[in-house]
Symmetry: C2
Subunit: 245 residues, 2 copies
């Protein structure tokens, strides 16, 4: 039996997935489709974030973790609660009203928004019962509710955070090349980075560890693989209070 839902409270999850091959930072969205029973007109046909009510007896973090697992099967992914969205009119779009009609939603629902970081390849979208699909973060489809705004704010938070904490490695496979990291930064930030300077900077970090391995199966010079050591990072870390205003 399903636990009691808090009817005016939900979590929504912005699932970021990076695809090393296409160099694309993606967001995982689920299809929302409804047609009129009488006229067969399409009433709703767009995408939304995955989300669900919070249960009475779980924490907000647990709720987000549960929602991610339900959609992807994944647990133990990096997550961050980044903002609550609760405008009185956030569900008052016509499409959204139709959609919400037959659900146990309060019209005034507050959602606690999380984002997750993982690898696109870790999600099996082909056999997904919610018709989940990846979209490049800069080519989003039509979105329901206020999910466009939620994704934008998640992306902004990610931009800020990836400059300051080593969360970038949550989006990469365990073994990666220096250029993978650069490509990912460029995808997230929407900028170009000088390869020589970036490379030097990264290789000098003690927690970026070169492996005795190179890429395989590429039709060009195979690149050196590296790993990120969270342990070394934590040991070496000391906050620097650089005032940068």
């Amino acid at each position: 039996m399903e636990p009691n839902k808090i009817l005016n409270l939900s979590v929504d999850c912005v699932v970021f997935g990076y695809d090393t091959n296409t160099k694309s930072l993606n967001v995982l969205l689920i299809k929302r489709y409804l047609e009129s029973e009488t006229t067969k007109d399409v009433l709703v046909n767009d995408y939304v974030l995955t989300g669900y009510h919070v249960y009475e007896d779980e924490t907000l973090d647990e709720s987000a973790t549960r929602v991610l697992k339900e959609l992807t099967g994944l647990t133990n992914q990096y997550k961050k609660q980044f903002k609550a969205f609760g405008n009185p009119d956030r569900l008052s779009n016509k499409k959204d009203l139709i959609w919400v009609q037959n659900q146990e939603f309060n019209l005034r629902t507050i959602t606690i928004a999380y984002y997750f970081l993982l690898k696109t390849e870790d999600v099996d979208v082909d056999n997904n019962k919610y018709e989940a699909k990846w979209f490049p973060v800069r080519e989003l489809p039509e979105l329901g509710f206020d999910h466009q705004q939620i994704i934008e704010e998640a992306h902004e938070d990610l931009k800020t955070k990836c400059l300051v904490e080593p969360i970038i490695f949550e989006l990469l496979p365990d073994k990666f090349t220096i250029n993978d990291v650069q490509d990912l930064y460029e995808s997230i930030l929407g900028i170009e980075i000088d390869n020589r300077n970036f490379r030097r900077k990264l290789i000098n970090k003690k927690y970026i560890i070169p492996l005795d391995e190179k890429q395989v199966g590429v039709s060009k010079k195979p690149a050196q693989l590296y790993m990120f050591s969270k342990d070394i990072y934590k040991k070496m870390y000391h906050k620097n209070y650089l005032i940068n205003i």
Copy 2:
């Protein structure tokens, strides 16, 4: 007539106030006191953040603004929504249960936490109907609910943010000295800063504008006063994507 309250949803406000004279970063707290009607035992005697239910027809931001105004009379202060707190057991402390007993609180209440930045002197605590009182952020009294944690997380967010955005000036009067700014940074961050280096750095910013004025009424060499120009700051600002991991 009071608008409808959302019974399981509140905002809590961490009001930071800086006192230039005592060089103290303070938090504004309100007294919580209750004694037994029969035995006269003191049942609850501590402090809490100011907060209140969200109304049905207002945004979260409006709710926080209203709560601040109710306590301090102030509007138009810098505010930031920084986290939602909603653990199922966050009101389950014995004192808190007693306190909540006669209020229209749901036991499972989610609170959206904001912090505000202002000047201690702008609040008239002597004539405050909630018995509001300032406490140095590093010498907090016993606190109800999970408000200790909320304040700590607000402080952490403030530490991070003041390094990157010019919010420090929200805590200072319009006219300030360079040493005021340094003292404030030291209070927030809990570090010591080299005066010569700091001074040079700040004076070189185009948006720190020297005034034709010096301190008055000080029994020592009066210091040069400066102001912060938000306009110039905005014009000059361009995001730098310095990767600092």
